[in-house]
């Protein structure tokens, strides 16, 4: 396959391919973080995760329009504001959903699956009715487009770097929040033993609501970031949902480290295979690999012990 290329071409292609794998890793991790928090900490399978992401994407779209029309001078930095708005919009919707729906279903985990799936359909149709069935184009400030040439052949995508940076920042923030803050301690206490946590004075309902809101908020930020690389339409969320669940389940539902490791494994496997085989075949083999590993290790890569 490579005999016709020179050594320098090959080495630069491998560098680019390595970078492509890292971008895919960041994308997977960013999609999965919000879901991992909700699924891992609360045991709720949020089928509407993709729709929370798309809410973030729509918020980004509207922020961009707002800046274009009213404050074009600040257009180059609108994306940061859009991400913050996306976080709060998706988070607020998440908390409302938790209060209206999810909290009534904590004892029936399978029903949350059905309920959130219904919610995803409702949200899709809501987006379609309000924003129209067509995809919207989100315009990016010019500095976020294109690539930085490293050598003649090797180029580094700016939006890839951006997603990477964002993913690292959010992962670190979530890790600090979960393992260093007193709120994180409460969350973990509730996960490990809900009754005892309640008995020592933790407001478990409030913890649940904020956990769900946080997960949805991160989904919103992810959706906002993905306007750079993907489409924004009523059903675009569905494009991400399979990969997201794959990462979370494969990683072991309750472990942040597991999610990271799983995102890394799946993205590297897929990106490498896509390069050497074809696109569809890479996907098939990735799914097959995940299925086999989950058969051997149903709890996922990493697992923490929980008292039920």
């Amino acid at each position: 396959m490579f005999s016709e290329y020179s050594l320098s071409e090959l080495s630069s292609i491998f560098m680019m391919q390595g970078f492509a794998g890292l971008i895919l890793f960041s994308v997977f991790l960013l999609m999965a973080l919000g879901l991992a928090i909700i699924f891992g900490q609360m045991g709720v399978i949020n089928m509407a995760h993709g729709e929370f992401m798309i809410l973030g994407a729509y918020v980004t779209y509207f922020t961009s329009q707002l800046f274009l029309n009213y404050i074009p001078s600040l257009f180059s930095i609108y994306f940061f504001i859009a991400m913050i708005l996306a976080f709060f919009a998706a988070g607020a919707l998440g908390m409302a959903v938790e209060w209206l729906m999810i909290r009534r279903l904590y004892k029936r985990p399978l029903d949350t699956l059905l309920a959130t799936w219904g919610l995803s359909l409702i949200l899709q149709q809501f987006y379609r009715s309000v924003f129209g069935p067509r995809e919207v184009g989100v315009e990016l400030p010019s500095w976020m487009m294109g690539s930085l040439p490293v050598t003649e052949v090797v180029e580094v995508q700016i939006n890839g770097l951006f997603v990477m940076g964002l993913t690292i920042a959010i992962t670190v923030a979530v890790a600090l929040l979960m393992y260093k803050s007193s709120w994180g301690k409460q969350v973990r206490a509730v996960v490990q033993n809900r009754v005892m946590a309640g008995a020592v004075g933790i407001n478990t309902e409030k913890v649940d609501r904020y956990t769900f809101g946080l997960g949805c908020g991160i989904a919103g930020v992810a959706g906002s970031a993905f306007t750079m690389i993907g489409s924004t339409g009523p059903t675009s969320g569905q494009l991400y949902i399979v990969d997201t669940f794959l990462v979370v389940v494969f990683g072991g539902a309750q472990s942040l480290l597991g999610t990271i490791a799983s995102a890394f494994t799946i993205s590297q496997a897929q990106s490498t295979m896509e390069f050497f085989l074809s696109g569809s075949m890479a996907k098939v083999l990735t799914l097959l690999g995940v299925v086999i590993i989950l058969m051997l290790r149903p709890q996922g890569l990493f697992v923490i012990k929980v008292r039920r």
């Binding site: 292609i13 391919q17 067509r134 924004t232 059903t235 494009l239």
Partner: protein
């Protein structure tokens, strides 16, 4: 049509009732000679029993047709334009007096992007509503799902999308292009004008891109003497194209030939741009991006790519100017019109003309009368129905501009004959 025809048709039903009522009266010669009732009107609004022998939903004043598209679900993105175009055509036909003196009434059903639902709704339209024709479907999958229904209950479907060919039915009129019409001329053009010798084929993984690429590969290898340096398919909804973009960079093809659809489309072009592939230097020819898709992709991400279609909104002819103006008036200044939207607009018109030629709403008569129907007012220019129920049409190549419109850079001099079962390409 002249305006005097319009008037005569508008009042034709009242006139017919009057005529029936006064048939027995001795005064009739006086009235008839007064010029109030002209004979051509009678010919244009013939009795229902004569034009409808199979029990379709045709009354003295109305004829019912069905519109069957997805307005919910994934495909709503694409099918919305078709619904809008069909409603516009129906409204315009009604304003001109309808079909055989009858106003068109439509019943709209939602296929909900789900193929069994399409089949179910098609059955409902044909069996319960007894519609005289159906304008509908978008994906090949939905067409394949409804085809047996249309054949069993003898309905008439006007199908707007460019598609892979390999199909022909008495009960379907294909108003979009079949694969060879769309593909061959575009490849010839890129070979001649851009010196394209090596091609990288990339598509979504389902029947239309795969059949199209098969035809493209045969044409490139056998007729153009070029080579295919790569052929890749990605699952529908795939959003990460960095690996294949690296492969494209490595193989340096003269032409990237793309048939990626749906949400993947947006991701593909955004990532292509981000990876530093400059479409003004790297030739890219696609058969899956119309003005509709550019809305989602963003004009700045797609500028300078070439798209091969039979229709572009920017076509410069009087028919198209009127059509675009009417479309925008009805659906808003910001709407864009893509290839399929225009093809959907042809459906009601072709049906109307066929009915008038056949002098009947009967499906069998329409199926037979369809061959040779000419529509000179088509926005794409002149079209004509071939005996195989596809359309003769021109193929054009447009270069995408920053504003999301295309600049037409090539147009086949002649109409291309539809050839749904191309020899040597299968």
């Amino acid at each position: 049509m002249s305006s005097s025809d319009d008037n005569s048709m508008k009042f034709s039903s009242t006139r017919r009732k009057l005529l029936m009522g006064i048939a027995a009266m001795p005064a009739i010669p006086v009235l008839a000679s007064s010029g109030l009732f002209s004979t051509p009107a009678l010919a244009q609004a013939p009795a229902t029993s004569a034009v409808n022998t199979t029990g379709l939903a045709v009354t003295d004043t109305e004829v019912t047709v069905g519109i069957l598209h997805s307005v919910t679900g994934t495909m709503a993105i694409s099918e919305t334009g078709s619904v809008q175009a069909e409603k516009l055509a129906i409204e315009q036909i009604n304003a001109m007096g309808g079909v055989l003196g009858r106003k068109i009434k439509y019943i709209q059903e939602d296929g909900a992007s789900d193929w069994p639902t399409f089949a179910e709704k098609a059955k409902k339209l044909l069996v319960n509503d007894k519609v005289a024709a159906v304008m509908g479907c978008w994906t090949s999958a939905s067409r394949k799902a409804v085809l047996p229904v249309f054949e069993q209950y003898n309905g008439m479907l006007y199908y707007p999308t460019f598609y892979e060919g390999l199909e022909q039915s008495k009960n379907v009129i294909y108003t979009g292009q079949e694969a060879t019409q769309q593909i061959l001329a575009g490849l010839d053009w890129v070979n001649k004008e851009k010196g394209g010798k090596s091609f990288y084929l990339i598509g979504s993984d389902y029947i239309w891109p795969r059949t199209s690429m098969k035809i493209a590969r045969k044409h490139i290898e056998a007729k153009l003497g070029g080579k295919v340096s790569g052929e890749e398919y990605f699952p529908l909804g795939h959003t990460q194209f960095n690996s294949v973009i690296n492969k494209i960079k490595l193989t340096k093809p003269d032409v990237i030939y793309a048939a990626v659809v749906g949400g993947s489309n947006v991701a593909f072009y955004k990532q292509l741009k981000a990876a530093g592939i400059d479409l003004s230097k790297q030739t890219l020819l696609t058969i899956s991006v119309t003005e509709d898709e550019i809305d989602g992709i963003g004009g700045e991400n797609f500028a300078n790519a070439y798209s091969c279609m039979k229709y572009f909104q920017s076509l410069d002819n009087p028919n198209n100017k009127d059509f675009v103006a009417a479309f925008k008036k009805m659906w808003g200044e910001k709407t864009v019109i893509g290839d399929v939207t225009q093809a959907a607009y042809l459906g009601p018109w072709l049906w109307k003309m066929t009915v008038e030629k056949a002098g009947s709403f009967d499906i069998d008569k329409i199926a037979e009368a369809s061959a040779g129907i000419e529509f000179t007012k088509a926005p794409e220019g002149y079209v004509k129905i071939h005996p195989n129920h596809h359309l003769w049409s021109k193929t054009r190549v447009g270069q995408a501009q920053l504003d999301g419109q295309f600049k037409v850079v090539f147009e086949t001099p002649e109409l291309i004959e539809p050839d749904p079962f191309p020899k040597g390409y299968q």
